[in-house]
């Protein structure tokens, strides 16, 4: 009786190990490409690309990662299911990033539109004023508070979550936000 089964299927030659052995030239080529790409991304970082620098850096990083995964980790020659596991993981990371970022972005847009900025308003309502910075940075805290004072802030106690109204108020909230962010 055939004794040897894998995945519920009989295996013809159980003693053979079907592993792909890449030639040295592959490894040398890959590490060479990785070094070149590292140099590229390093050099580009000195140029002022503005917001595009994130895109460029990420594209280069993805190319590098693909090289490592495909050749060093043998995914190109490996069981296709391992590739499925890997890509599936990336998709779930994408879901995690996508929905969370979507909320964060759309929340900002709506907060602007409705003149609510939850993060900072909540702190005002706690009755403690705007607590930013950290306990052991009294100067910064004083500085921020002074800026808020200068913009006529500190109107704590009002209910938040809608009904703030007023263009003035909006400008004020934005100024606070800016003051706090800097």
């Amino acid at each position: 009786m055939a004794k040897v089964f894998l995945n519920g299927q009989p295996v013809e030659h159980p003693h053979e190990v079907h592993e792909h052995i890449s030639p040295m030239s592959t490894y040398n080529g890959v590490i060479g490409a990785l070094f070149v790409l590292t140099g590229l991304t390093f050099a580009v970082s000195f140029a002022d690309l503005g917001p595009a620098s994130l895109t460029v850096a990420m594209v280069v990083a993805f190319i590098k990662a693909t090289l490592v995964v495909a050749y060093f980790m043998h995914l190109k020659y490996d069981d296709k299911f391992h590739l499925f596991v890997f890509l599936g993981t990336i998709i779930f990371v994408g879901i995690f990033f996508g929905f969370t970022m979507f909320d964060m972005k759309s929340r900002d847009a709506l907060n602007d539109e409705q003149e609510t900025f939850v993060r900072w308003k909540e702190q005002e309502n706690a009755g403690k004023g705007l607590v930013v910075g950290v306990d052991n940075v009294p100067e910064r805290r004083a500085k921020v508070l002074a800026e808020i004072e200068a913009h006529g802030g500190g109107h704590g106690g009002g209910e938040h979550g809608g009904g703030h109204g007023g263009g003035e108020h909006k400008a004020e909230a934005k100024a606070e936000h800016k003051a706090a962010a800097h």
Partner: protein, 547 residues
């Protein structure tokens, strides 16, 4: 009452069973046998079920009158937090997969063990360490954040948040290891002829669960790590006082914890699929639909977490999107329920205890599932959020769904695990008490919540008193039912009849070996030639076996 259908035992019990093949305490403590580990998990989760159950009874007793009785507000907060945290992380999540799954997954696949037996043992000890952390948290300053650890309260309260979250963090690793082990086992350890279409539905359910465990739990780990760091160093990711965003914590937390709800319920679905088909002596209706709907639920569960954030300050746009996606979960879930009912239709149903639990599940889970729809409706949820309606919905799914399925599965497989039959009459009384007690407790809470009773209050307005008292009495009935079940099951260990190898006439592989199984499960590796739900001798002579 059903008579046990004695099938011919192909291998008379000459080899000692896994229970006695090795002796001594050490042989248990360092065992890598999946069956022994399953029993060890079973004992552990039952212990924590008891602890958290006692806490629940304490809560219900406090709520018997509108005023404060014997718990201070602070104590009440701690008790409901610990009830939730222990139930979720130490009982429900490991209950079916780690206890019954460990025991039956390799048996149902025709394997000698799981793929990584030593990892399995490690997983058990990791779970034990997690339990120690949580117990230390209880014994020191307790925990009062709710089981969800929402910031910023969890970063500012004076209770043992770090110890408790460290415990949950560690429990997560145990869960990951179990899930990883099961995925590999299902892929690589199937017996000859066991292709994907011949796998029992319990295996499909455990497999889907394991996939969620592997994909979701790491995010819980990093969330809790961030929370611990936030609390100790104040890095300002979650804590608004330091410039962070508390809603971000909820995103992180629910990315794990919503799929985790399906870690809790999917294995229950698997048990019900087994119970319904075996005890109605009929091929399961819609095998592929049930199997693939488990996978579908696993995937969809990852894109609905935002429905926990409807009133947390999440953007309305995201709220609408999550609300829509949440409805999608209803489709595969309904496919399952319809298939079970269709399986029962025209079957020769054996009304024994396991089957009773299966039927109880069909009622309670359907109520739990349907009440999820109003909660996923964005506009209605704004009113029902944080009321007893949510509490009732959650308990209908988790207790009425998972716990009922778990106890049903325990009865279904008890003869196989212990080699003893329990008393059927006692079992039915227990099931009746559990069913009545459960419904009285939680059905009432739907009405309470609908009338505006908020959750997590230790005192309440007098007009809610009658319903609270009904609910409390129901919880006592439920507790009596569960204790009764414990008593007769324990009694059966000493006084129960010896179980035949296949008392229910089932076709899946675990019934093809002796009760209890031998250490290596099967005398020789089984070969599978057909569906796990063809009941040949029964289909041909239907009625002859049914009296």
């Amino acid at each position: 009452m059903s008579t046990a259908v004695q099938s011919q035992d192909p291998h008379p019990a000459v080899e000692p069973s896994y229970l006695v093949s090795k002796r001594g305490l050490m042989s248990w403590l360092v065992t890598v046998d999946h069956k022994r580990l399953g029993l060890m998990y079973l004992a552990s989760v039952m212990f924590f079920f008891l602890i958290a159950g006692i806490l629940a009874i304490a809560l219900r007793t406090e709520l018997f009158t509108p005023d404060q009785d014997f718990m201070s507000a602070q104590t009440y907060n701690q008790v409901f937090t610990l009830h939730g945290a222990i139930m979720v992380f130490l009982f429900i999540i490991p209950s079916v997969p780690a206890a019954l799954g460990n025991f039956f997954l390799p048996l149902m696949l025709g394997a000698k063990d799981v793929a990584f037996p030593r990892l399995n043992l490690l997983s058990f000890y990791v779970y034990s360490v997690a339990a120690v952390f949580l117990i230390v948290a209880i014994l020191t300053s307790g925990l009062d954040t709710g089981w969800t650890f929402y910031t910023p309260y969890s970063t500012s309260t004076g209770t043992a948040v770090i110890t408790a979250t460290a415990g949950v963090f560690i429990a997560g690793f145990s869960s990951i290891l179990t899930g990883l082990n099961f995925v590999v086992t299902v892929h690589k350890m199937r017996a000859p002829g066991m292709n994907w279409n011949r796998m029992p539905l319990f295996v499909w359910a455990i497999y889907s669960t394991a996939v969620i465990q592997v994909l979701a739990t790491p995010v819980l780990a990093i969330t809790l790590l961030l929370l611990i760091i936030e609390r100790s160093l104040g890095i300002g990711i979650f804590d608004p006082a330091m410039g962070g965003d508390p809603v971000l914590f909820q995103h992180f937390f629910w990315f794990y914890s919503h799929p985790a709800v399906y870690i809790m319920i999917l294995p229950g679905f698997g048990i019900i699929s087994e119970i319904i088909t075996v005890h109605s002596r009929k091929h399961i209706f819609g095998y592929k639909a049930i199997a693939l709907s488990s996978v579908a639920i696993a995937v969809i569960s990852f894109v609905v977490w935002g429905h926990h954030l409807f009133v947390s300050g999440q953007s309305e746009l995201a709220g609408v999107l999550f609300s829509f996606l949440t409805f999608a979960v209803g489709v595969p879930t309904a496919i399952k329920v319809f298939s079970w009912v269709a399986t029962l239709y025209g079957g020769s149903i054996q009304y024994n205890t396991a089957c009773w639990y299966g039927m109880a599940f069909l009622w309670t889970f359907t109520v739990g599932g349907l009440t999820g729809l109003p909660l996923s409706t964005l506009a209605i949820d704004v009113h029902l959020h944080d009321t007893y309606f949510v509490v009732a919905h959650f308990h209908y799914v988790m207790v009425g769904g998972t716990v009922v399925a778990f106890i049903g599965g325990l009865h279904h497989w008890w003869p196989k695990m212990t080699g003893r039959m329990f008393n059927e009459t006692a079992g039915k009384w227990g099931c009746l008490l559990v069913f009545i007690g459960f419904n009285v407790t939680f059905m009432t809470q739907f009405f309470l919540g609908h009338q505006g009773m908020p959750r997590r209050y230790y005192a309440y307005l007098p007009e809610y008193q009658v319903m609270h008292q009904v609910s409390t009495i129901g919880s006592y009935i439920l507790a009596v039912g569960l204790l009764w079940t414990l008593i007769y099951l324990m009694h059966s260990l000493w006084k129960g009849e010896k179980a035949p190898s296949n008392p229910w006439g089932a076709v899946t592989l675990e019934w093809q070996t002796q009760s209890p199984p031998i250490e290596h499960n099967f005398h020789e590796t089984p070969h599978i030639h057909g569906s796990p739900y063809d009941f040949p001798e029964i289909d041909k002579s239907a009625g002859a076996l049914h009296h």
